[in-house]
Structures are given as C-alpha cells and as structure tokens.
Amino acid sequence: MSEHTVYEPKSALGRWFEERLPILGFVKTHVLDYPTPKNLNYWWTFGGILTAMLAIQIVSGITLAMHYTPHTSMAFDSVEHIMRDVNYGWLIRYVHSNGASMFFIAVYIHMFRGMYYGSYKAPREVLWMIGVIIYLVMMATGFMGYVLPWGQMSFWGAKVITNLFSALPFIGEPLVTWLWGGFSVDNPTLNRFYALHYLLPFVLAGLVVLHIWALHVPGNSNPTGVSVKSTQDVVAFHPYYTLKDGFALIVFMLLFAFFVFYAPNYLGHAINSDPANPLATPAHIVPEWYYLPFYAILRGIPHKLLGVVAMFGSIFLLFALPWLDTSKVRSGAYRPVFKQFFWLFAIVCIGLGYLGSKPPEGGYVIAARILTAYYFLHFLVILPLLGLLEKPKPVPSSISESVLAKNSRRLAAQPAE
C-alpha cells in the first residue's frame, strides 16, 4: 500500500524519541492505520489467532522449561512434578499440550482459506511459500515437543519418525545414528530435541515477521479476489480489524478452554502416561492427530523410500501451488467447478487423517492408497487443467461494488415495511 500516514508525536519527548528510533511511527503505519480490505470474512481472522497461539505457546513453554528436566531418567517424573506440585503447573502444561493442537487447528483453517480464495496467487507467492516454511517448522517443533514428556508414545513416535531417514540410500543408516546421537533413541536424542524445541519457536517468530512483511507489501487478499482499487475499498486495521479479530480470538479461546479444562487428555494418547520403555513396543504407534494425513500417505505406499518421498513430497508440493493453479481468477468463490474439487480435496485430507489413525492393514491401506493418489492428482492434474478448462463466473469490478451488490440483495430480501 503506497498510502502512508504520517505520525507526529504530540510531546517534545515523543518527537525527540521518534527522530532517533521511529518505531511508534512504524507501528502507526503498519498496525493501526494499515489499510485492510473492508470485506474480509471470519476465515481471515486465523492469522491473528495463530500469532496469539504462538505467543501463548512460547510463554507457557518457557514456564514449563523452568521446571522440566531433559534426562531420560527424570523427564517423565519432572512432568508429573509439574502436574502435581508446581503452582498451577497442571494449567500451564495442559495449556501448552492442548495449545499445540489448537495451533494446528488454526493453521489448517488458515491454509485451506488460502487455498479456497487463491491467496497464494501473484503477487503473494512469496507470502505463501514463507507460510509453507512456517508450517514445516511447526511440524518439527510439535514433533520434538511431543517427545519431551518421555512417555511410551513419545519414545516410540520418536523412534518411528527418525527411522524414516534410514530409508535414504547409502547415507540413511549413518544419518539416523547422527540424528540420534547414538545407536538408539536415548538421552542424547532427548537433549537435542529439547534444545531444538526451545530454539525453533523463536525461528517461527522470525518467520512470522517475514510472513507479515510479505503480507504488507501487496496488502491482504479478500474474498472476491479483486485487488484493492481505491480508499473506498479499505478500512484502517484499527479499530475495525482489531475488534473483529479480537472477537474471533476470544471465541477460539472458548474452544481452547473447553479442551484445557474439560477434555485435557482427549487429543493425546493414553499410553503416553506410561513412562517410556524401550523394551515394550506399543500395539499401535500413532502420531499426534495433526500428522495423521501424512502418516497415512507414508504407510499407504508399500515401498519404504517411496513412502518417505511421497510423505515429504505431499508437503513440498505446496511450494509449487502458486504455479500449479493456472486459473486467472483468484477467488474460488467465482469458480464453480474448482469449488467442488476444493471441498472434495478437503474431505480427502480428513479421510487420510482418519486412515492414519487406523492400523495399517487390509482395507485401510487400500483406501489410503486411493486417497493418496487423489491428493497428488488434485495438485498435479486437476488444478492445472481446471484453470484452462473451467469457465469462471463474472468477477465484480471492485470490492466496494461487491459490497454494494451484497447489501442491495439483502435489502431486497427484507419485506417492505
């Protein structure tokens, strides 16, 4: 947005400070007065929700780190010490463990919103790709965090996931030994996971700054997909979106509170309350729910290396999405056929998640293969062809025009008084 508001401090001290570090002017331009399309719906509130979740995870995580002991013989008991003897330790820990799930719920909604409304299209490709990097770092952070309580699923999850790298030809085995810091998942593994689990959230915070920077260059997309054309199309971020995002955040916190206070163990696995035992393999080793679709892809493919390649490929494919979608129309709202394929794709992802939670046998594997094939088909065949073949509906000429049209429809629908 080219339009810059000028910040003029009212006090002499304010002017003195602003000449030396113009941070308040920066905040005024980029937070308070940031011009935002006036037609954003509630699907656009998840960016703010995600920023809040990152802050909550960092604050609760640092507090947990003050009481946690990263050693195989003490990690489990130190977590139980937090649950039992630290003041409000149960609250901090349940906020952190359920916060991870809430973080992923929000990031999935945020990603699917971007896919539906074509938010990844020019000129926002870099914004989207930074988002994919954020998602990858989140997955790594969440995985390592789940290992820290050193329960049965922590240990065996770590073992299964790190073992994936052994599928690589030649370097596989030595690489896994290097990752473990030994010949099995053991104390060195736990220590490095702890160090990285503490580091990566700050990397995430840096990436979020880049993500917002890349957002503020072209400005927000919006449900019509039509670019901002005049000041009629935008409102100041504050107070319009601070209030709308704030309201959405509090509603999201209600869902969060439901899990923390009334179902704190629902999203985890019961056997993670058994201490890690390298000699007793659990009957079903399952990752956290937010990795299940990828776990289904991994296990669906009968070849270990190809399974690993497909699993990572399914995520790395997202980097190419801006170029795989060939449609000139940005928003899915004006693409009747795309819309149906979008929802089909969303259901396929949920289906893969369901199959990832089931044992890898019989019909589950067959179904996982069908859905995996569809997942790749969606990106590699359907999206490129659809952009060329589909006939989109007419797109409004501006945001203001679409708002006026919507409001006049609403008025017409009301009975005359």
Binding site: Y240, G246, I250, F261, N265, K358
Partner: protein, 276 residues
C-alpha cells in the same frame, strides 16, 4: 453433474472404510463397562467418602503388589482428594517403616513414615516384583486411569471421556471363564479377562471378593462396590487437580463469554459506521 460424481466418490470411499473398520473391530478388546462417577461432567467433584474407601481398598489389597510412586502421603490430606485430616495422615504414615539415611556414621536406618514421604513401594525393584509375581510386573498405579482408555472412537471419547476409571473397574470385575475355543491357548498361571488391553490373558488373579475389605462408614462392600471405589481413588491419583481444574474452567468460560459478547457489540457499532 460434478456434484453427483463427488457424492459417488465419497460414499464409495466411506463405505469401504466403514466396512473395514467393522471387520477389524470384532477382534478388538471389549469396551469397558460404563460406570457413573461423581467426578464426571463439567461440575463433577470427587466423593470424599468414596476416595477414602478407595484408599482403603488400595492399601489392603492392591498395594501388596502395586506401587504408587508418584504420590506422597501428604497428598491424602490435600484439598480436592480424599481429604483425610492431618492427624489421620500422620497416623497412617507412621504405620509404614521407611528406609532413610545415611546418618552421621554413614549407616542407613529405618524410621516411621512421615506425610512428606512417598507412598512406600511393595518391592525394592522390578526384578523382585517379577520374581514374586510369576514373571509379570505389577504396573505402577499412580497414572493408571490416565494411561488406559476404556473405549476407542473419536465421538464416543468426546461424549463419554476416555474411560480410564471404567477400564480399571471393568478389569477388576471382568474375570470370566475362558470361552471354550480359547481354552487350548491359555498360558499357565494366567486368567481370562476380556477387558484387559494386553490381549485377554492377565497374570493378576481376581483381586477382589465380596466382603474382603470392611469399610469404616459401613458402605456396601461387594467386589463391584470395592472396584468402583478403588477406581475412583485411582482417578484422583492420576488427576489430583481435577476439581481445581473444573472449577477454574467454569470461571474462565464465563469470563470469555462475557468478553466475547462485549467485543461483538463494540465490533458491530464500529462497523456500522461504514458500508461493508
């Protein structure tokens, strides 16, 4: 046309998945019996008398083989639990002999237990426990109701909880004569229990029989009553802050609802200034 193909694709995938989930389910462990506990639901609280009875069952029966290593005796007097009085806890702690030391001459010694001691374990180490139990290791019970689920299913667990206490109750009361088709594969010294997650055959003999423990409050003491009381006690040992959690949760939810309503009203007012 597209909608039709979409619908067909989905029904096919889900019928496929549902069919297979049925065939797999048949071989799974039986779901736990549903028990109504006082601590369930958003306003649930433990029944003090029940926890005290459950402690007595643990002490007189379970603790002969099973440890409780994450708990301190002082926990028994803390709010939100069985809430024995300080005197009662001092007296029951003193009934244990605890090894302490070394003293100033470097010798270990035994002394009567204190409320600040952990629950004493029945065996000095895992090997001793296995040797005394036919090779099986009696698991620690501190977290047992959190470490087991009574049933599976995304929606069943959301509606009814994870069923850890129900699992313990069901194992304790679930011993049955083995079905004749399984009799041939019965391992020596094992018992048939269809609720046991680790594959039907359990090393623990049926631990409770009617009238085995006499309750001070004269409450009924059939095996089923004792199983209900001890499983409630074990729910507390796994989640000692359950009452504080639910009480705080109610306040947080009320606060968030009020804040959400206020924010919504503000947002509507501000947005009414412009056409959107």
């Amino acid at each position: 046309m597209m909608k039709l193909t979409t619908a067909i694709a989905f029904s096919a995938a889900f019928i496929l998945a549902a069919g297979f989930s049925q065939s797999v389910r048949a071989a799974e462990v039986r779901f736990a019996k549903d028990v109504d506990y006082s601590f369930e639901g958003p306003f649930g609280k433990f029944d003090r008398a029940q926890l005290q009875r459950g402690y007595k069952v643990y002490k007189e029966v379970c603790s002969n083989c099973h440890s409780m290593r994450l708990l301190y005796l002082r926990n028994l007097a803390e709010p939100g639990g069985p809430e024995f009085t300080e005197e009662q806890v001092r007296a029951l702690a003193a009934s244990f002999q605890v090894q302490d030391g070394p003293d100033q001459s470097g010798e270990m010694f035994t002394r009567p237990g204190l409320p600040s001691d952990r629950f004493p374990s029945p065996f000095p180490n895992e090997q001793a426990a296995r040797a005394a139990n036919g090779g099986a290791y009696p698991t620690d019970l501190s977290l047992i109701t959190k470490a087991r689920a009574g049933w599976t299913g995304t929606f069943r667990q959301l509606a009814k909880g994870l069923g850890g206490s129900e699992y313990v109750y069901s194992v304790l009361t679930g011993y049955e004569p083995e079905p004749s088709e399984l009799a041939a594969e019965k391992p020596p010294g094992k018992y048939y229990n269809p609720y046991y997650t680790n594959g039907h055959w359990i090393g623990m003999p049926p631990p409770l029989s009617d009238g085995q423990v006499t309750f001070d409050d004269g409450a009924p003491n059939t095996a089923s009553d004792m199983a209900r009381d001890v499983s409630a006690f074990l729910a507390w040992t796994a989640e000692p802050k359950l009452e504080a959690r639910k009480a705080l949760g109610f306040q947080v939810v009320i606060y968030l609802i009020v804040l959400a309503v206020l924010l919504y009203i503000c947002k509507e007012r501000i947005w009414s200034r412009i056409e959107h």
